[in-house]
Every structure is written in C-alpha cells, then in structure tokens.
C-alpha cells in the first residue's frame, strides 16, 4: 500500500453509517471510492465492521425452519461458486465508480452545464443523488450553498475554495453553513464525484435558472 497524500477524510459518523449499511446509495458510492483510495479510512472501516461483528455475535437467536440447513446446502450445490468477481481496468476511477460509469473517465457521458463545466448524473436510488463534475483547469464553479449534506471527492486534478485545497482522494463536506466557490487548479482539469441529499442552491442568477434544467 502506497502512503497516501490525502488530507481530508470521511467523518466517523459517515463511516459508521456506511459500515452499518444505512447510508443512502449516492453517499455510499463516495465512501466506497474514498476508501478505495485511502488506507487510513479503510482501516477505520475495518475497525467499525469488527464492531458490527461483535454486535452480531451478541444478537439473540431466532430459530430457523427445520429444513433451513438442507435448503442452504441445496442452494450451494446448485451454485457452488456464486457469481465471479468482476475485473476492472486500472484508471483514475476506483472500481465502485467504474460500475456506475461502465469504465474510466473516457466512458463518462458528460453534459455541458456552462462555462466549460460538465456533469454526468449517475443512476442511484432517489434517497440522494450522485454526479460527476468536470471543471476545466482554472475555472470556478459558481458560488453555491447547500440545503442538506453534500460530499465531494476529488478524482483528478485539484480545487481550492474558502476552506482549503482538495486534491485526489480528498473529500469536502458541505452543509447549510458552507457557501463556497471551488476553483479548479491551473494545469489539470478537475474531475470530482459529488453526492447530495438536496438540490444545490446557486447564488448567481444564471445558475439558478439553469438549475431545473441540469437537474441538480
């Protein structure tokens, strides 16, 4: 495992909700991608899952039907190996994201948002939404604030805003209190994966008009 340069990690609450399996799909995707890139959060997740194992051990028992073992063995006999593990090409997109895009960055079906910014909404359940953002080097995303929770993971390039600099693997959390203007660094285009449980609110008049069209 190569040491990572990640400075902005997942919160404990997000990791616990993910390990318990209660995080909405869109946020789970961001978590899965960050954990794929971050040995530190992966180990933290393992620790929380070990707690889940401890909770399972302490759970009271509920009797199964008389034929349960035989039925399970029959399932195994029918399909001893289950579905084979998928294989992935090496790319800047971690494998959980490749599942949604059908490959790496070149497989994304981008839609223009304006000012060179592009996005692609990913198919997740409706409890929250996930999208990829493409921000050309040196470009700013309009000022916006957030209704609910937003998590943004950098996959390529880097951006800076009022909070800090965010590069590959870093996650920025946004909520009601954060209004920011992320600017992609000069030199490399920036690709981010963002999940939110509420529509983004843009401050500028044009982005606000665009909002219903681009569906964020």
């Amino acid at each position: 495992m190569t040491p990572s340069n990640i400075n902005h990690h997942l919160t404990d609450a997000v990791l616990l909700a993910y390990s318990a399996g209660t995080l909405p799909e869109a946020f789970s995707l961001v978590v899965a991608c960050h954990v794929s890139l971050c040995p530190q959060c992966r180990s933290a997740l393992d620790g929380l899952e070990a707690m889940g194992g401890a909770v399972l051990e302490q759970t009271e028992t509920t009797a199964l039907s008389g034929g349960a073992l035989a039925a399970t063995l029959a399932k195994i006999a029918k399909d001893p190996t289950g579905s084979p593990a998928k294989s992935y090409r090496k790319s800047s997109f971690p494998s959980p994201l490749q599942d949604y895009v059908g490959g790496g960055p070149q497989s994304v079906k981008w839609r223009k948002v304006g000012g060179g910014v592009k996005q692609a909404i990913l198919a997740t359940d409706k409890t929250a939404s996930a999208r990829l953002l493409f921000i050309p080097a040196g470009t700013a995303v309009p000022d916006h604030s957030h209704n609910g929770m937003e998590m943004t993971l950098v996959l390529e390039g880097a951006f800076s805003d009022e909070v800090d600099r965010f590069a590959r693997g870093d996650v920025e959390f946004g909520d009601e209190d954060l209004t920011h203007t992320p600017i992609a660094e000069v030199g490399t285009d920036c690709i981010c994966l963002a999940a939110t449980d509420a529509p983004l609110k843009f401050k500028g008049i044009i982005p606000r008009l665009l909002q219903p069209i681009i569906g964020i």
Binding site: T22, E25, V31, R42, G47, G52, P80, D99
Partner: protein, 213 residues
C-alpha cells in the same frame, strides 16, 4: 457453543499464578490466553478444504443470529429466513475471498449479512470499495488469524466495558435504527476510541504482510 467443536483451536490453559505480597498470598483471577476464535478456523477450513462439517458449525452458530439481525432490519419472518439462507450460501460461495488479515469470521460474516439486509430486505444497493489483493502466504493464515482475533477480542472487551447507554447506541446503529444524521448528532458514541484501537493494530499487521501494489 459448549461442545468441543471440530474447529476448536486447542487452547493453552492459562495457569493461575500465585505470588506473595508481604504475608498475603494473592491468587490472580485466571485469564484465558488469547486464541484464534473457532469460527475463523472453521471458515478457513471451508475455504481451504470445502469442509462441510465446518460449514454446518458456522451455520448453526451464525444463521439464528443473522435471522434476528435481518428481522430487526425490517424483514418479515419469511423474508429473513430466506435471506439468512442466502447469506449462509454466500459464506460458502465467497469463502475463497476470506482473508484473516482483514477480519475475523464474525466480522466477515457480519458484512455478508449486512449486504443481504441491504439488497434483499431494503432492496437497495451498496457500492463496495475496491478489493485489495493480499498476496500473503496462506501458510501464515493461522498465525495471522490469531493476531486478528486478538485485536478483535481486545476491541470487544473495550466495547463491553463501555457504559450501557453507549453500547446501546452502537447496537442501534448496527441494527439500522439510526440514520447518518442521528449518528452525527450523537456525541455519546465513542467512535474515536474504538476506531483507533483496532486501526493501529490492523495497520501494523498489514504493514508486515502487504507488498507494494
């Protein structure tokens, strides 16, 4: 499990030590020496030799717990029963992916039950992190299993010593009774302690085993 099991690691009996302090003879309470948990050894047998008897032991221990867990997650008796059978079938099917470097059997089986809860009971999806390739030597697995089990039993001990209210919160979180925002608002869950306790240990174990990818 009170009966000797096929997978039970023969535990070294810890001897009570007797020492004197002044006049008094103090007998220390017997502390069992750490041992690999029998479920991890069962799972390694399923993985390495497709041992059916070991699988039946795992089934008898875990299936009734998984069924309760799935019913807490909102499954009816019928649905939870079916999903439990599927979860146990997955234990067999995916056993080749089990690595004691990453988890004990109960932790690994918990993740399978959790995923079953999401896809079969709640009908949702859960993206999984990229798999790490552990190039570790299978010969080492028994000793690695011992190390992982020790770390996890240390963690469990730490959890068992928490105040009841905190333990209840952890259970509620894992039984799916708390949303992310409820967890975030709850300052009583001693996440930092729990996370760092096992994290450091696991990082150390892995550091020894993992080669540069």
């Amino acid at each position: 499990m009170t009966q000797p099991s096929a997978c039970a690691f023969v535990p070294e009996r810890a001897e009570s030590s007797v020492y004197t302090r002044g006049e008094a003879i103090v007998k220390r309470p017997e502390e069992p020496k750490p041992r690999s948990d029998e479920w991890t050894l069962c799972l390694l047998r399923v993985r390495d030799t497709q041992d059916q008897a070991a699988f039946v032991q795992l089934f008898n221990h875990f299936a009734p717990r998984i069924k309760s867990y799935l019913m807490k997650g909102g499954g009816s008796d019928t649905l939870a029963e079916e999903a439990t059978q599927e979860a146990l079938a997955t234990v067999w099917q995916k056993a080749s992916l089990f690595s004691p470097v990453q988890a004990s059997a109960s932790t690994w089986i918990f993740t399978i039950a959790r995923n079953k809860n999401i896809d079969a009971i709640r009908k949702q999806k859960r993206p999984e992190p990229e798999e790490l390739d552990w190039i570790g030597d299978k010969e080492d697995d028994a000793s690695v299993a011992l190390e992982t089990s020790q770390e996890e039993s240390g963690l469990r001990l730490a959890v068992s010593k928490l105040p009841q209210a905190q333990r209840t919160l952890i259970e509620r979180a894992f039984y799916g009774e708390m949303s992310h925002s409820e967890i975030a608002a709850e300052t009583q869950i001693p996440l930092g302690t729990i996370k760092s306790r096992i994290r450091l240990a696991l990082e150390r174990i892995r550091h020894d085993l993992a080669r540069e990818k």
